[in-house]
């Protein structure tokens, strides 16, 4: 069964929303023993709760690059991988998601950044918005790209915007890939836009 990014991130933040809403509905002045209580890890929802995904998106054709030097790159993310277990910890009004690993495929107009993706992510979810961060690896037969990501999520994970600074390995050694992903809750696609260039990521970011 193919599972969309929308569905998986929806799963990720649906729990957070439930937890956050339950927290919001609860009395705001916690008892002393509640305030002192340690955070409790909650098992991740089982895969049975995942909503059947929409059809696999078909990327719109776009001009390909020559795969050399600095290039502006575009593409889409297609979720056809896995979502490994994560924990949810409630701390005050925030639901902390930790240890999630998501895998999917990027279909890009530059072969250097086309490939399979592994995203190790964390989320702090509030009532309607969440911050998100983690590390990403994009790999194909010629090399890989590895680095940190950060961004925002909303609509119980159905919308998100994150960006990653990835450093090239293998055939891409000496290059950097800036990757920005955007998913509007009303859209089917996760769109990617970014750039590949020779050199290091900026130190101030």
């Amino acid at each position: 069964m193919r599972i969309s990014t929308r569905a998986t991130l929806g799963l990720a933040l649906a729990g957070a929303l439930v937890v956050a809403c339950s927290g919001a509905a609860a009395p705001r002045a916690p008892a002393a023993n509640q305030a002192a209580a340690p955070a409790v890890a909650t098992p991740a929802p089982t895969p049975k709760e995942i909503t059947p995904p929409p059809a696999t998106p078909t990327p719109t054709p776009m001009p390909t690059t020559d795969g050399q030097g600095a290039e502006v790159v575009r593409g889409v993310e297609v979720f056809n991988g896995t979502l490994d277990g994560y924990t949810i910890t409630k701390v005050g009004d925030v639901a902390q998601y930790r240890g999630g690993v998501l895998s999917f495929t990027d279909r890009m107009n530059d072969p250097r950044v086309d490939g399979t993706v592994t995203f190790s992510w964390s989320v702090d979810a509030y009532v309607s918005a969440a911050s998100e961060w983690g590390s990403m690896k994009v790999e194909n037969k010629n090399g890989s790209w590895v680095g940190p990501c950060a961004g925002a999520a909303w609509a119980v994970g159905d919308g998100f915007a994150w960006s990653c600074w990835l450093t090239g390995k293998g055939a891409y050694d000496g290059y950097t890939y800036y990757k920005q992903s955007l998913k509007e809750e009303s859209e089917q696609f996760v769109t990617i836009i970014g750039a590949v260039y020779p050199g290091e990521p900026p130190k101030e970011r």
């Binding site: 502006v72 925030v94 702090d124 509030y126 918005a129 911050s131 950060a150 915007a161 836009i193 260039y197």
Partner: protein, 244 residues
């Protein structure tokens, strides 16, 4: 003196004889004029005006001065807008930013999803220099006007921008301050800029102050038209998360 008469007679005869053989068609006035014309319009003249040194020397000196000025300019950082090297798509006469998204109505409190638009105007040209094949752009200032779905992040921004272009695509980074009457957001932005579409993609991580103290603002911006960005992000309580 009668003894000189024979000599005078011979001399007279010789003079007349010489004069009879001489060229008498020469026009002295015309010859003088030609001589003067040559002097005024020859190699010592410039556009018909007489100068004290040969024109060729003046031309060589002028070329040397131009070469010196050019050599001083090349390699030194320059400040100014290079049309071939836009760091971001900026609008010289920026219009009002696009309307905030009505589907993202906000009460302006707590954590919130935000969306809207921004216009960018380059108010301080950057300096640029070459380092091999890379064009280094430094210390540009872009004034950003944002119109967002949440009033806390609508206002005027100041983005101090740097970029390394290879040759027209590459990373950009810098500090960003967004402020309005109630408070401000400060932090950094980074992303990529490119020339072909006169556009870029950026992400920013800002910390609130004033009325926004204790909140963080994270957003991504993508150029939709030159000088106009679409903005999506969130306001969340607490400090900025640290990427792993």
């Amino acid at each position: 003196m009668p003894e000189l008469d024979p000599f005078d007679a011979r001399l007279e005869a010789a003079v007349h004889g010489f004069a009879d053989r001489a060229q008498t068609s020469v026009d002295a006035a015309a010859t003088a004029e030609r001589a003067m014309r040559h002097r005024h319009r020859g190699r010592l003249a410039w556009l018909g005006v007489a100068v004290p040194v040969p024109v060729s020397i003046l031309v060589v000196l002028t070329l040397l001065v131009l070469a010196l000025v050019a050599s001083l300019g090349i390699g030194a950082p320059r400040r100014g807008q290079d049309a071939a090297l836009p760091i971001v798509a900026v609008s010289p006469g920026a219009a009002s930013p696009p309307a905030a998204r009505p589907d993202l109505a906000s009460d302006g409190k707590g954590d919130e999803v935000v969306g809207g638009g921004a216009t960018l105007t380059l108010t301080t040209p950057y300096t640029y220099s070459r380092a091999g094949a890379t064009t280094q752009l430094r210390d540009g200032v872009i004034t950003v006007t944002t119109r967002m779905s949440d009033p806390r992040v609508s206002g005027t921004g100041t983005w101090r921008v740097n970029a390394d272009l290879h040759p027209t695509t590459g990373p950009g980074w810098g500090t960003y301050r967004l402020e309005n009457a109630a408070g401000a957001w400060d932090g950094t932005c980074s992303g990529a800029a490119w020339d072909a579409e006169r556009g870029g993609a950026w992400s920013c991580r800002l910390t609130g102050s004033g009325a926004y103290d204790g909140y963080s603002y994270l957003f991504s911006a993508t150029t939709s038209d030159p000088g106009i960005d679409d903005v999506r992000g969130v306001i969340v309580p607490g400090p900025l998360p640290s990427p792993e």
